[in-house]
């Protein structure tokens, strides 16, 4: 019995594989803020038109933090593009058929 135990191959340690985790508190915070910013843009579209017509805007915490006519240039102006709400403010919304 003891000999068997001594000759047994060491069990390969399995990498710890947990169920895919949900969001971290920071991720959740980022998502909720992003959602609030989208709602804010949608509700304030008409007032945004007065100031930012035909421009891209970047919104963070329900505030326009940057704007530009060019999206690529706007990306350079914001600190965290992947978590920033972007929208093109226009009087002639694109009519999409996707």
């Amino acid at each position: 019995m003891q000999k068997q135990a001594l000759t047994r191959k060491p069990r390969r340690r399995q990498p710890s594989r947990q169920a895919p985790p949900g969001m971290t508190s920071k991720e959740r915070h980022d998502l909720l803020r992003f959602e609030k910013d989208r709602v804010w843009v949608d509700r304030h579209r008409s007032s945004l038109l007065n100031r930012y017509a035909e421009r891209w805007i970047a919104v963070w915490d329900c505030r326009v933090i940057a704007s530009d006519r060019d999206f690529d240039r706007l990306l350079q102006k914001v600190p965290d593009p992947p978590h920033t709400c972007f929208e093109f403010i226009t009087r002639q919304p694109l009519e999409m058929v996707l």
């Binding site: 895919p20 949900g22 969001m23 991720e27 949608d42 992947p82 694109l94 996707l98």
Partner: protein, 143 residues
């Protein structure tokens, strides 16, 4: 388990957390039952920091009303959506549309950049989807 979407400019969206080793961000995806697959479009790809060079595997091009577009694949992505219970985490090989913006006119580039990412049937088929345009409510539910 129910995921609650939202309406933006009159259209139904789900804000999806996209995460992989090198990328993490939020992508507002238009719920599109006509789309065969979930697709990140150019504007959101740029915002997420996805350049064509960072995408290795080629995926078949997809066709829409406006014509065909080349797609690249971002493997090993997790799409995360918040629900009324645990977060919904979906491992996914994500298609990213890459329009040839360099050869498009400025006006066409501008239109392309306004296209939203699409939450297609590859994801939607997991859920009972209820979309009420009158009340502007969107629910993705499953047992």
């Amino acid at each position: 388990m129910t995921i609650r979407g939202s309406f933006f400019a009159g259209a139904p969206y789900v804000n999806v957390k996209v995460r992989t080793d090198g990328v993490a961000g939020v992508d507002p995806m238009l719920v599109d039952t006509g789309a065969f697959c979930t697709l990140v479009l150019d504007r959101d790809a740029k915002a997420l920091g996805l350049s064509p060079h960072s995408l290795s595997s080629a995926s078949p091009s997809v066709i829409g009303v406006g014509g065909s577009v080349k797609c690249l694949l971002l493997p090993g992505v997790e799409l995360v959506m918040k629900s009324d219970q645990e977060d919904e985490v979906i491992p996914h090989n994500l298609s990213v549309a890459c329009h040839d913006l360099a050869h498009a006119s400025p006006a066409e580039q501008h239109r392309i950049m306004q296209l939203p990412s699409l939450l297609g049937r590859d994801i939607l088929k997991r859920y009972s989807v209820t979309c009420d345009f009158v009340k502007e409510t969107l629910l993705l539910a499953r047992d």
